[in-house]
Amino acid sequence: MDVRLDAIRPRSLLHELEIHARTRPAVLRLDLSALRQIDSTGVATLRAVTRRLRRSGVAVELHGATPEVMRVLAETPEPDPPKHPPEPGVLESLGRSCFAWWSGLLTLADMVIEAMQGAAGAVVGRRTFAWRDVVEQLELMGADALPIAATMSFLLGLVLDFQTWVQMHYYGTESVVLEFVGIGMARGFAPFIVAILLASRTAPAIAAQLSTMEMRQENDVLRVMGISPVRHLVVPRLFAITLVTPALSLIATASGILGGLLVTVWLDPHWMAAFETMLREMTLGDLWLGTVKSVLFGWVIGLASAFTGLHSGYGALSIGIAATRAAVASILFVMIVDSIVTTLWTMAQ
């Protein structure tokens, strides 16, 4: 079969040849005699067509090309198409995933140990520790987050009191609602809401900053000076978050109680009695539990975000991925820690 091609337009050429290929000819001759000029797109199209037809058992012959066209065809490099490695089997994929998880876990353990050593070194007075960085981080993590943490917990206390009051009112036990809000905020809600705020605000910021430094080779500069990025960058952030989370948590507790009190004052003529009940029933233990939880939450958020930031890779997407992973991992681990601590505390009572 003879096919004459008058125009080298990749799409129309491909379409026309596919129509001819459907008739399953043994040989397809392409007459290039009308072709005066060919560029890389033309050569690529011809080669792609030829390769595709040959795969389906059709031999392709080129005829009538001018010397100029022949020269371009001959001089254009013809590399082999890339050979994709075979897809790994299920077992191999599983093995690789397990290995990656295991080595990630070991790296995380290394980082945690180094951070603890660094923190201990800083406390016993190593000159090179940058306390200035801790102050800077305190401002970023704490002072800047304070208004939103207070507002969120105030609104949570308000909503909690309102909804519980409506239910309790049916049973005539509305006098314990404020106590419930107060103890609930101190033991769990306030540390949790502060942790969620830090996980969504501070964790991505830490991860993005460390990831950017990794990509810009700033961390390599530290390493070649013999300075550990974990000690220099992660430890100040851990110190800061260890101070910030309990402080914010205590403020959030007070703010949440204020929100609850506002609703109680509005709905309950005997609000003073409810307030006194709350003060009587709340113990230092409630605040202690909240403080312990918030410190643990802070460490979890700090370590998760630092780990994702320092091991984010070098690609253009890595900063975004690191920030997202830091937020997700922080929230997940905060919930796990919360469940464990709450269960252990309740069982111990």
Partner: protein, 256 residues
Amino acid sequence: MSSAALVELRDVVVGYGELPILTGVDLRIDTGEIVSVIGGSGSGKSTLLRAMVGLLEPAAGAVCLFGQDLYATRPRSRGRLLSRVGVLFQSDALFSSMSVLDNVMFPGRKLTDLPDAVIQELALIELARLGVADLAERMPQEISGGQAKRVALARANVLAPELVFCDEPTSSLDPINAAVLGREFTRLRDDQGSTVILVTHDMEMVRTLSDRTVVLAAGGICAVGTPATLERSEDLDVQALFHGEPTRESQESKRA
């Protein structure tokens, strides 16, 4: 018995993951010389540099700095070894959260017990040497690429290290900035007695500055010598780097 070399690589195999980039690398670099490492793109120049500065552990062999195996020493000792080294990265790698002056003062603050006033003086001297003292208060993002390179060299050199590694120091630099860096490398060798290791593809810099040149090709070192010796080398890889792609005619005329 010869004294310990400043840098010694013994049968080093280095790469990423399971893929070795360089194998069987043996090299000795002594005090007070400028050594250029050249090679085509992907020949392993930057990989070798990363191995020499402690950023990439070799799969086999030993990397020794000042007579000690860099990767066999404990982290603290490795830190002490590396504190005698300055590195200029290809991307300037200035700390973006610090001013130019703070960047240059950083090694002094971290690695010495000197008072801050002395460290600042040292940093300003180094910045002035490289003609960028007037940028001291600027942030890295407020200066040009050439100026950032000069600031990064000032930071690498502020504590007068015995060994200075530079990865593509003149890439993307105009001739004026490249000349400033070239003069500084010569000063480091002649006045400060430092050894400078340049990973570069700037053949002009190789010809004019290097005491010795190491040529990387085909996954290893293919030649070591003075630039003048290598100019006359008949090795095709060396010729390709010094004279561009060698032709069959040039090969035949050389043989004749």
